[in-house]
């Protein structure tokens, strides 16, 4: 038990997570004709203060995994142990909705699309304050203070609170989404393609902001992304998913320098490098087909 004192227990332990979607036949008496295994036996740990990148192509199950972790959807099987410091670990999969609600303030999500994730009929101040209101956490005066504080932290002006989302650019909207997620002072933040919709220069600013806030507020990130360059730059460890399975999980430098799984190697070789002297692999298609034939 000596080691437990030196390394803190993981904030999140995911074990054998599965999410299967049944495909029903059409007709009078629908039957299950197929089972789509969107997430299939996924396990990983997330240490407090760590950033874990979850990468994969579309349909690989990375977003479904993230949503299962937050219990936005209920997994088919598996455990998601959430261990807040100073409290007993709880299995999010086994909790009822009522038991989950007080825990929800400790886990928040930042979405991909800054245009559809903000209510166009609410002012920015109301959007950011809404989580506090829903959880009945602060009085009116305190809410106002915390919104003002959060706006300043994400680099927006205090008078922006009375404006509506349409008045803001994509990068600014993403900052509003970040403010809304962080006003609850969550322990775990799931960023689902949080910078994918942004231009490179804006993406760079938002990544800087996320890193800065992580240090200030001691946040743990589960960073879902498809851009491998962003993940390499931002994450401490990287998990690669394909067809619902976790194919490789390794510290970032190790994964990029010496990928162990053939799929990871192929994925990395397909990324076009901005250095014209580093050639990319145009034959990924045939090599993927060969890989699947071997399996």
């Amino acid at each position: 038990m000596n080691t437990a004192a030196s390394t803190p227990p993981p904030l999140l332990s995911v074990r054998g997570l599965c999410k299967h979607f049944p495909v029903m036949s059409r007709g009078f008496r629908p039957r299950v004709v197929k089972l789509i295994k969107a997430v299939d036996d996924v396990s990983f740990d997330l240490a407090p203060g760590e950033t874990l990148g979850l990468v994969g192509e579309s349909g690989s199950g990375k977003t479904t995994t993230a949503r299962c972790v937050l219990r936005a959807i209920t997994p088919t099987a598996g455990n998601v142990l959430f261990h807040l410091p100073g409290r007993a670990p709880v299995d999010l999969v086994r909790l009822s909705d009522g038991q989950l609600k007080p825990l929800r303030q400790h886990m928040q999500m930042i979405f991909q699309d800054p245009f559809s994730s903000l209510n166009p009929r609410m002012t920015v101040g109301d959007i950011i304050a809404e989580p506090l209101l829903l959880h009945g956490l602060a009085g009116k005066a305190e809410r106002e203070d915390r919104v003002a504080d959060m706006l300043a932290r994400v680099g927006l002006k205090p008078d922006h609170r009375v404006r509506y989302p349409h008045a803001f650019s994509g990068g600014q909207r993403q900052r509003i989404g970040i403010a809304r997620a962080l006003i609850m002072r969550p322990a775990l933040v799931v960023c689902d393609e949080a910078t994918s919709a942004l231009d490179v220069s804006v993406q760079s600013q938002v990544l800087d902001l996320l890193k800065e806030l992580q240090h200030e507020l001691n946040l743990t990130y589960l960073f879902v992304a498809h851009n491998l360059d962003v993940v390499r730059n931002f994450c401490d460890r990287v998990a690669v998913m394909r067809h619902g399975k976790l194919v490789e999980l390794a510290p970032t430098d190790q994964l990029f320098a010496a990928p162990a799984h053939p799929y990871t190697r192929l994925l990395l070789s397909a990324v076009p490098s901005p250095d014209p002297d580093v050639p990319m692999n145009f034959n990924v298609g045939e090599e993927l087909a060969r890989l699947d034939a071997c399996a």
Binding site: S58, V200, D229, V230, N233, P272, P274, P276, F282, N283
Partner: protein, 285 residues
């Protein structure tokens, strides 16, 4: 503007010369110069990448070339000289909206691949009908011959079982397959210039690699030039011979890819390259 053409191209080498192009949009707050005096040359058999952030005017430039600008926008100045080997010199900026020559240019001499393959394809026509339509518009062949050529082209873009796919609708295909169909449609008439507007932005990285490889090999086979519109410097580095960097409707820098990417002269180009996660200092603790 910083120009770095170390090997000045002779004029005859050009397939498209754009000179001082201006495309403006009327808005309530006055005229917006989306493209504000842009000049560049696409050389025969080569690839020019037009790179910039959203709103920089790169797509408006490409749409201007094919005269696809709709009111409140209009091309209000400049010259776009298409030096066609088949049809001679044509100033696209001065062509009449309804001239038969413009219809010959669109899809015949110059064709275009769009970012979103699902919106570039008609959902109510089969893949085969859409490719045949392009062939029948631009080539003097009968329907049976058009069908043979379309199936042949589907095979060339790497679609398995092309005769069966010919009869399918776009919704039955994956995103990567749809983009292959769009490429087949664009290249079936062997254009002299292919404009590819963010052709792989909507695709996964392994599919992107295949589609880019396909564009490259077909470009070599047909011998066409490519104007590649993109925001991704990785795609620029791997695909283009020359690059032009666009910012707020103006070209800030252009030159050979290796020179511009390795030794950017303009502060904006430098800032853009420094913002790339692969070039930016690691944000890890």
């Amino acid at each position: 503007m910083v120009s770095l053409n170390d090997e000045a191209a002779p004029a005859s080498d050009a397939v498209l010369e754009v000179e001082d192009l201006r495309t403006h949009f009327k808005t309530d707050d006055g005229e917006v110069a989306a493209v504000d005096g842009v000049s560049f040359v696409v050389r025969r058999g080569r690839t020019l990448a037009l790179v910039g952030e959203s709103g920089s005017g790169k797509s408006v430039t490409s749409h201007s070339i094919l005269r696809l600008i709709q009111p409140p926008g209009r091309i209000c100045g400049g010259r776009m000289l298409l030096r066609s080997a088949r049809a001679g010199d044509i100033d696209l900026a001065r062509l009449d909206e309804r001239s038969p020559l413009l219809y010959r240019v669109r899809g015949g001499l110059v064709s275009m691949i769009f970012q979103e393959p699902s919106s570039a394809l008609s959902p109510v026509h089969t893949v085969g009908d859409q490719i045949c339509e392009a062939i029948l518009l631009h080539q003097t062949v009968n329907k049976a011959e058009a069908r043979t050529r379309a199936i042949d082209m589907l095979g060339k873009v790497g679609i398995p079982d092309p005769a069966h796919r010919f009869t399918q609708y776009p919704h039955e295909l994956s995103g990567g397959m749809r983009q292959r169909v769009v490429i087949a449609m664009a290249l079936v008439c062997r254009p002299e210039l292919l404009i590819a507007d963010e052709p792989t932005t909507a695709l996964d990285v392994t599919v992107q690699a295949q589609v880019l490889g396909l564009i490259r090999s077909l470009q070599r086979e047909i011998g066409c030039s490519v104007l590649l519109i993109t925001h991704d410097f990785g795609v620029v580095a791997q695909m283009a011979d020359d690059v032009a960097v666009m910012h707020r409707g103006k070209l800030v820098e252009q030159g050979p890819v290796r020179t511009v990417l390795k030794h950017p002269q303009h502060p904006y180009t430098r800032a853009l390259l420094d913002a790339l996660p692969s070039r930016h200092a690691s944000r890890r603790a």
